[in-house]
């Protein structure tokens, strides 16, 4: 069947089977290979894109559900050869290693900063806790997201501690 939607400001359409996920549709039928698939069951967050202004796991959505929607992928963040401030900050703070989680991290971080322009470290950690990264240990991702909201700090190491209780985490099991 035919699915039409707007991706990164461009109206596009292609036909696909009804069982096609949005992730596969974006990647394989439309060529937005910047969308990554790390688990196909909603657990890793690497396939996260923005659908009508809210983040969505494109592996858990069917392409047909996106009919008429406005989708932004990682390919749509930079314009005319310039990285956006968040991309720039990820680069400056080494917020990526292999880059496989990065599309989802950027989508999630964009939404966070839109909804909460001055998040604390633990708010950032909570916001990205649904996006797994196997490479970075998250520290530099947190720094990168912070760096996108304030002038970059002076490169001093942080003291590597949080207050007891402050980091009380909700484990997923």
């Amino acid at each position: 069947m035919k699915v039409s939607l707007t991706v990164n400001g461009e109206e596009v359409s292609a036909s696909c089977e009804p069982r096609r996920t949005l992730a596969d549709f974006l990647r394989h039928d439309l060529g937005y290979t910047g969308v990554h698939v790390g688990c196909e069951h909603g657990a890793c967050g690497s396939c996260t894109v923005s659908v009508d202004g809210a983040t969505a796991r494109s592996c858990c959505m069917l392409a047909v559900q996106a009919e008429g929607c406005t989708v932004t992928t990682i390919e749509g963040l930079a314009s005319s050869g310039e990285l956006d401030p968040l991309q720039e900050s990820f680069r400056e703070h080494h917020g990526l290693q292999c880059g496989f989680c990065t599309p989802g991290m950027l989508a999630t971080a964009h939404e966070l900063l839109r909804d909460n322009p001055d998040p604390t470290d633990s708010e950032i950690r909570a916001a990205i806790s649904g996006n797994l990264c196997r490479c970075t240990g998250y520290q530099f991702i947190v720094d990168a997201i912070k760096g996108a909201i304030r002038p970059p700090h002076d490169g001093q190491q942080r003291d590597g501690v949080v207050e007891p209780g402050a980091a009380a985490s909700s484990r997923r099991k």
């Binding site: 790390g38 390919e75 680069r91 880059g99 950032i124 196997r134 003291d159 590597g160 501690v161 484990r171």
Partner: protein, 783 residues
């Protein structure tokens, strides 16, 4: 080393812009004309005879191009899957093929494969394949495998013990006979894996007319894969091209060579079309190698003053139902490294390789070292407790102080362990952890501080050591540095870029050495048709010490040629010239300069009169570097942890690493590697476990079962650096890609023990999940 250059500079990575803008190309982004997609049918049962495989319905499904069974794959190849590491020469190495032939020996083993017009159709076809199994009793655990009447995995071998050896030095029997104190412990390490966020994949094109094989492969070791294809498929190496796309992480899991990639080749040959085979996440938990699982029994002999005089015991490697390319070698590394950073005169470690009906054992960041570290750091704490001495006093007393040091197997080139421990303690002091712990305890909260000290062999390796240790692959690396006719630089490497920033690191070394701006250097890798030969690929923390050293030497020679040509043009002696930012000037004579572009032009294009008569055109140097020794990095980890006594939940509050990897090329990259390794250590200590049920079937199928730490579980991590260069390595670099994962487990557990002094815990099994911690606490109080 000259200071202030690009070696040691915290510069942004050259890899990043492509990745940040979605312009990278990972294996699943590769699309060849006419490409088919494949899927593999995997056994749900752990142990069975295959009575029959009926593929007729699958083959008849519209959209299906080919179906192959294990027997067909065996007939189509020349040999079994290679075992690269054979550390025990007389060990039994079962011959296994890419798919199971008549027997299944682990759940997840491939039975048949389909190539179809797309993956969905291929998966539909798998459901139409009818396999009849005659189930055999599963041998799923070490105890089951070693039981006297255990069912045997291999008809042609009389036991599930595939091989034994020992690592010995000194007189352990005497050390134990004369000891004031003897301590013992038994450790259990779980099955874990690297789970790179991108699963494994391959796109194979085996042209039936030209017999050329062109493979896109998620591999950390393209030349090893190329040799393995040659061996298994019976092709000359020169007809095999392995291209490595961007890799979404490797962590050792993409070092090993898998049957799946052979299956893709066979399907391509059969159909005459390119075949893509991408592992999905669920199958990755059975189809990608597992690691870590071991039982280690250990005894330590010591004098009353805390001097450790001997260690002995046994490492049981809980292998799978087939041998992966790594064979038993990760377990051998555990046995060989169990003395760690300590000068212990006598060692007698047995190593036993035991087959079970589980996924093959293979490479994972840290290899055998995290287990060895956990063992020696546990024993140090135990000895301290027994003798009533601070654990750091035991560490200091036993640290290796003279270098080079002959360890039971390796020669450790250099180290300053006490200083590194002091650096870590200073960081803990500066972070005010002692106060935090006191205040927390005053409130009744359970907060503790734990440490571990590690050393690690990096930069594998001298080829002679690898051959001696049973590797069928060497340890050298070859890199090429070229300056083109515009004066820009290209570095060619056979190492794989998998997120670790190797392109940036090698570019920094080349730019620093040649005196050109960083953005004038391009690093190319990932194509065996054009990349130089990497003897061992990207593993064993060898990218910086091998690749970096080779680039350093090649660029140094190339710079000399540049200066000779420049001297000729400028009519000056080469010794009087300096290169800065790509401009070659006569020292002390302002204005007498040529640019690197001029030299490029003189070496490639307008040669006449400008290229000295005795110079060959072109600007290119190639260095084959086989180190004379390994390079020993070291570090100290400190962890601040809080335990919830009611729930058993452990929250990490702080994480500090003091580390020394010799000359640092890019401190930002080094920190990132340590952070990432630390996160893997945290998962390994607290939550990650591959679980088989009582029937030997795999239970772990999703990231909801296999719990990677998220940003909410990983605390802020801070790094302190010191640098003790490896004098024998050009540039002084040591490896560190695996460092972060090695010491974390012991430090976390020591922090938990410290947080709960009233329970007098002894934690010797990982991961220490909340239910397990609660159970130990109950045991501790007799509740």
């Amino acid at each position: 080393m000259d200071v202030g250059g690009l070696i040691g500079a915290r510069v942004s990575r050259v890899e990043d812009v492509r990745l940040l803008t979605g312009r990278a190309r990972f294996v699943d982004d590769v699309r060849e004309p006419g490409m088919l997609e494949a899927a593999i049918l995997r056994s749900p049962v752990p142990h069975a005879r295959i009575v029959s495989v009926d593929v007729s319905k699958a083959a008849a499904l519209p959209g299906v191009s080919a179906v192959v069974t294990g027997a067909e794959v065996k007939a189509a190849v020349r040999g079994p899957q290679p075992v690269t590491w054979q550390v025990i020469p007389d060990m039994f190495h079962p011959r296994t093929y890419a798919l199971a032939v008549d027997k299944v020996t682990y759940p997840g083993q491939g039975i048949a494969a389909v190539a179809a017009k797309n993956r969905a159709v291929a998966e539909d076809a798998l459901e139409l394949i009818d396999v009849r199994y005659e189930e055999l009793p599963a041998v799923s655990t070490l105890e089951q495998a070693l039981a006297e009447d255990a069912p045997r995995l291999f008809d042609e071998w009389p036991s599930n013990v595939l091989g034994r050896t020992a690592v010995r030095t000194g007189d352990a029997a005497a050390a134990f006979a004369e000891a004031d104190v003897v301590l013992s412990a038994e450790f259990r390490f779980p099955r874990q894996m690297g789970t790179p966020l991108e699963t494994r994949g391959v796109v194979a094109t085996w042209d039936p007319f030209t017999d050329r094989l062109d493979v896109w492969l998620t591999t950390q070791a393209p030349n090893i894969a190329q040799a393995a294809f040659a061996e298994v498929l019976g092709l000359p190496v020169g007809r095999i091209r392995v291209r490595t796309p961007d890799l979404g992480g490797g962590f050792g899991n993409k070092f090993d060579f898998y049957g799946d990639e052979v299956v893709a080749c066979v399907l391509s040959r059969r159909t005459g079309k390119p075949v893509k085979l991408i592992e999905d996440r669920a199958e990755s938990f059975v189809a990608t190698v597992h690691s870590r699982e071991q039982k280690v029994d250990i005894e330590v002999a010591a004098r009353a003053d805390g001097t450790i005089t001997g260690m002995r015991g046994t490492v049981y490697g809980v292998l799978g139902g087939a041998l992966g390319t790594a064979g038993l070698s990760p377990c051998w590394v555990t046995a060989a490294s169990v003395t760690g950073p300590y000068d212990i005169a006598a060692l007698d470690m047995n190593l036993v390789g035991v087959a079970t009906n589980r996924t093959p054992y293979g490479s994972f960041r840290g290899y055998g070292l995290p287990k060895a570290n956990f063992v020696h750091e546990h024993m140090v704490e135990l000895l301290a407790k027994r003798l009533g001495m601070p654990a750091h006093d035991i560490r200091r007393r036993n640290f290796i102080k003279q270098f080079p040091h002959q360890s039971p197997v390796f020669v450790f080139d250099s180290g300053r362990y006490e200083e590194c421990l002091d650096l870590c303690l200073a960081a803990v002091r500066d972070a005010g952890w002692e106060r935090i712990r006191q205040d927390a305890r005053a409130r009744g909260a359970a907060v503790g501080i734990g440490y571990s000290f590690q050393n690690e062999v990096t930069g594998l390796g001298p080829s002679r050591i690898q051959t001696f240790a049973g590797s069928s692959h060497s340890g050298f690396d070859e890199e090429v540095v070229r300056i083109d006719s515009t004066g820009h630089v290209t570095v060619y490497t056979g190492l794989s870029a998998m997120g670790q920033g190797i392109h940036t690191a090698l570019a920094q070394v080349a730019a620093h050495t040649l005196g050109v701006p960083l953005d004038h250097v391009t690093v190319l890798s990932g194509d065996t048709d054009s990349s130089p030969y990497s003897g061992y690929g990207t593993g064993a923390s060898r990218g910086a010490p091998l690749g970096g050293a080779a680039v350093r030497t090649a660029a140094t020679r190339l710079k000399a040629k540049v200066l000779r040509i420049a001297g000729h043009i400028l009519e000056a002696a080469p010794e009087d010239l300096v290169i800065t930012d790509g401009v070659i000037a006569v020292r002390g004579v302002p204005g007498r300069t040529v640019t690197m572009a001029d030299i490029g032009d003189a070496a490639y294009r307008r040669l006449g009169g400008r290229l000295p008569e005795d110079e060959t055109p072109t600007l290119e140097e190639r260095e084959v570097y086989d180190p004379v020794n390994v390079a020993t990095a070291f570090g100290c980890t400190a962890v601040l942890a809080e335990v919830d006594r009611e729930t058993g939940v452990v929250t990490l509050l702080g994480y500090l690493i003091a580390h020394d990897c010799g000359t640092v090329i890019n401190p930002m990259i080094v920190d990132g590697q340590l952070h990432g390794g630390a996160a893997q250590a945290i998962g390994g200590a607290l939550s990650e476990e591959l679980v088989y049920d009582a029937d030997g079937r795999m239970r772990t199928r999703t990231f909801a079962d296999y719990l990677l730490p998220s940003a909410a579980e990983v605390p802020p991590v801070a790094i302190s650096h010191m640098a003790t260069p490896a004098d024998h390595v050009p540039g002084g670099f040591k490896g560190m890609g695996e460092s972060g994962v090695i010491g974390g487990g012991a430090a976390i557990v020591n922090a938990i023990v410290d947080a709960l002094p009233e329970y007098d815990l002894e934690i010797t099994a990982l991961p220490i999940t909340p239910p397990r911690l609660l159970a130990l606490m109950r045991k501790g109080t007799g509740r």
